[in-house]
């Protein structure tokens, strides 16, 4: 009697809720999958890096070749991220604020690096700057080295991370509309002033979001950089390449010590991403290119 009356009182909403055991089953399955595929690898990196104690970890990080790889990775990101940020802002302004023929084609070209395999991204620079490449003879005549040295690594990284900032800024700029900029224009503001005082404050979190993602990829890129770097120890190895070399030499503490630094970077990236998402008040929809 009591149970039937409480059933009658139940709002239909309850009908769309799963029984407790069903929700527990789904949560368990989802977390189990995530644990096996994503969390265990993270744990493995740290357990291997610190497997022989903190001393071995510190010694592995302080090895000269590892230090050189950290420096090269930081240098590459320091060059690539600002370039792609300026490009992203310019491309977003152009593609959102103006109508012109060929806009869709330009947008596709900006997006193209997303859909190219990293190895192919490296390959195109070998075809341009290699000994038999388009600019090969010219570079050799002037004793310039692009491939197997820092410029090649920077170029390949720039290619791979090219769309990141543009892709994040574009939809936000689109959503913010033109009316404030047009108002500023009628009040006599110039182009730079409109951009710096009106537009940039509106889109700054979107820019930061793109910069965070761009930086993570720039520091972590493996395939493209591996093709153009030539793996010269202490000179052209970025951190991900250093991980590969040490791993292939069975120096697991060394490999996973460098890897743990990159995991740390990834975690910082995720935290930064979450903070920016919260600022923007939007749900996490970062993965959509």
């Amino acid at each position: 009697m009591a149970s039937s009356s409480s059933q009658a009182a139940a709002r239909p909403f309850h009908l769309t809720q799963s029984p407790r055991w069903v929700s527990l089953l789904w949560i368990g399955l989802a977390l189990g999958f995530l644990f096996v595929v994503v969390i265990l690898p993270l744990v493995a990196v740290f357990s291997q890096a610190f497997g022989k104690g903190v001393g071995a970890f510190v010694a592995a990080i302080a090895a000269p070749e590892t230090v050189a790889s950290i420096k090269l990775t930081l240098l590459t990101a320091a060059l690539v991220v600002p370039f792609n940020t300026v490009f992203g802002l310019s491309a977003a302004w152009l593609l959102v604020k103006f109508t012109f023929p060929g806009k869709k084609l330009l947008l596709t070209l900006v997006d193209l690096p997303f859909s190219v395999s990293p190895v192919i991204s490296g390959l195109v620079f070998v075809l341009l700057f290699g000994r038999m490449g388009w600019f090969g003879p010219f570079l050799r005549a002037h004793h310039l080295q692009v491939l197997f040295s820092t410029p090649g690594i920077v170029l390949a990284t720039a290619f791979v991370t090219f769309p990141f900032v543009a892709r994040e800024v574009l939809p936000i700029l689109q959503a913010s509309g033109n009316s404030e900029e047009e108002a500023a224009l009628t009040l006599g503001a110039g182009g730079w002033r409109i951009f710096l005082r009106v537009t940039l404050p509106k889109i700054k979190w979107g820019v930061l979001y793109g910069v965070i993602l761009c930086n993570a990829r720039a520091m972590g890129e493996f395939g493209a950089v591996s093709v153009v770097s030539g793996h010269i120890r202490g000179l052209t190895n970025t951190m991900p390449l250093q991980v590969e070399i040490l791993y292939n030499e069975y120096d697991f503490v060394g490999a996973f010590a460098v890897a743990s630094l990159l995991v740390f970077l990834a975690v910082l990236t995720l935290i930064g991403k979450k903070l920016v998402e919260r600022r923007q008040g939007r749900p996490a929809v970062g993965a959509k290119p």
Partner: protein, 291 residues
């Protein structure tokens, strides 16, 4: 530069040339157009055109011989077939994870939500060595599975596992927002009319999820096909067995067979291009169905 500008203005077929062309009231058109096109030309168009020209350097017979060798065919089968399996696993796991994250509240949900993006933030080489360390014979999970006769590392299963890892965020993040926007009233109505939970899911929820799921599937597939860093460590790289196309390209490059590498790259690009077309088509359909 002028050449590229003219190329782009011809880009949209059927657009009549307008006299007295006016892009809009705001300033900065010429500056951003010039800078953007200069960057796109240098960073994207120039390198990719090198690819097209280099592979055109081979005769068709040679080109065909390179791209249809048994080793190449085996690598396509693994890259495209493995990516297909991985994208399918991701689609199922994507719906499950998105469902759990949107519909249920449990401790640590925010952390789980953030962890979904880890494969995007984690350098692929790190993912590769970490997965290998766990799933190799002497690893935590690998040892257990090996005792039950299942080898993961250095087999096709390992390749697919790495592909699942890199594709996961795409599947979850395309389904999640759609699930969030789903109107609960329709489900309530179905329940009131006597539909079971399973029927409600099959007839009400799944049809709405299918377009984003298909897009997520395609994105995860595209990512997995081109993936290199996380796969090379766990695959063992045996020709004809566990060799993916990107690895075969690297292999040709190391032997300075640039034309061969380029031909294989063209096959991959064609595959990726077709996938991209499919994604755009599905997203256009999604946009229309939402009005």
């Amino acid at each position: 530069m002028g050449e590229h500008t003219s190329k782009i203005s011809e880009g949209r077929a059927g657009t009549p040339a307008r006299a007295g062309f006016w892009p809009g009231p705001l300033p900065g058109f010429r500056l951003t157009l010039g800078f953007t096109i200069a960057c796109v030309s240098l960073v994207v168009i120039l390198p990719l055109s090198a690819l097209a020209v280099k592979s055109a350097g081979l005769s068709f017979a040679e080109f065909w011989q390179v791209i249809s060798s048994p080793r190449a065919l085996a690598s396509y089968k693994l890259s495209f077939g493995g990516a297909l399996v991985a994208a399918f696993i991701n689609a199922v796991a994507g719906v499950l994870l998105a469902w759990v994250l949107v519909r249920y509240r449990f401790p640590g949900r925010a952390i789980v939500d953030a962890l979904i993006d880890l494969p995007l933030a984690l350098p692929t080489a790190v993912a590769g060595v970490a997965l290998t360390a766990i799933y190799a014979k002497n690893g935590i999970v690998g040892g257990f599975l090996e005792a039950h006769g299942i080898s993961v590392a250095f087999t096709k299963v390992g390749v697919i596992l790495a592909m699942v890892f890199v594709g996961l965020p795409f599947a979850v993040r395309t389904v999640q927002p759609v699930l969030m926007d789903l109107d609960g009233q329709v489900e309530e109505a179905a329940a009131v009319l006597g539909a079971s939970r399973l029927t409600t899911f099959r007839k009400i929820i799944l049809p709405v999820l299918l377009p984003p799921l298909a897009a997520g599937f395609a994105l995860a597939f595209a990512r997995a096909v081109g993936e290199y860093g996380s796969v090379v460590f766990i695959s063992g790289n045996l020709p004809l067995e566990t060799e993916i196309v990107p690895l075969l390209i690297v292999n040709k490059l190391e032997q300075f067979k640039y034309a061969h590498a380029t031909s294989l790259a063209m096959v991959m690009l064609a595959g990726s291009f077709l996938t991209l077309l499919a994604v755009n088509f599905l997203q256009a359909r999604k946009g229309r169905s939402h009005g």
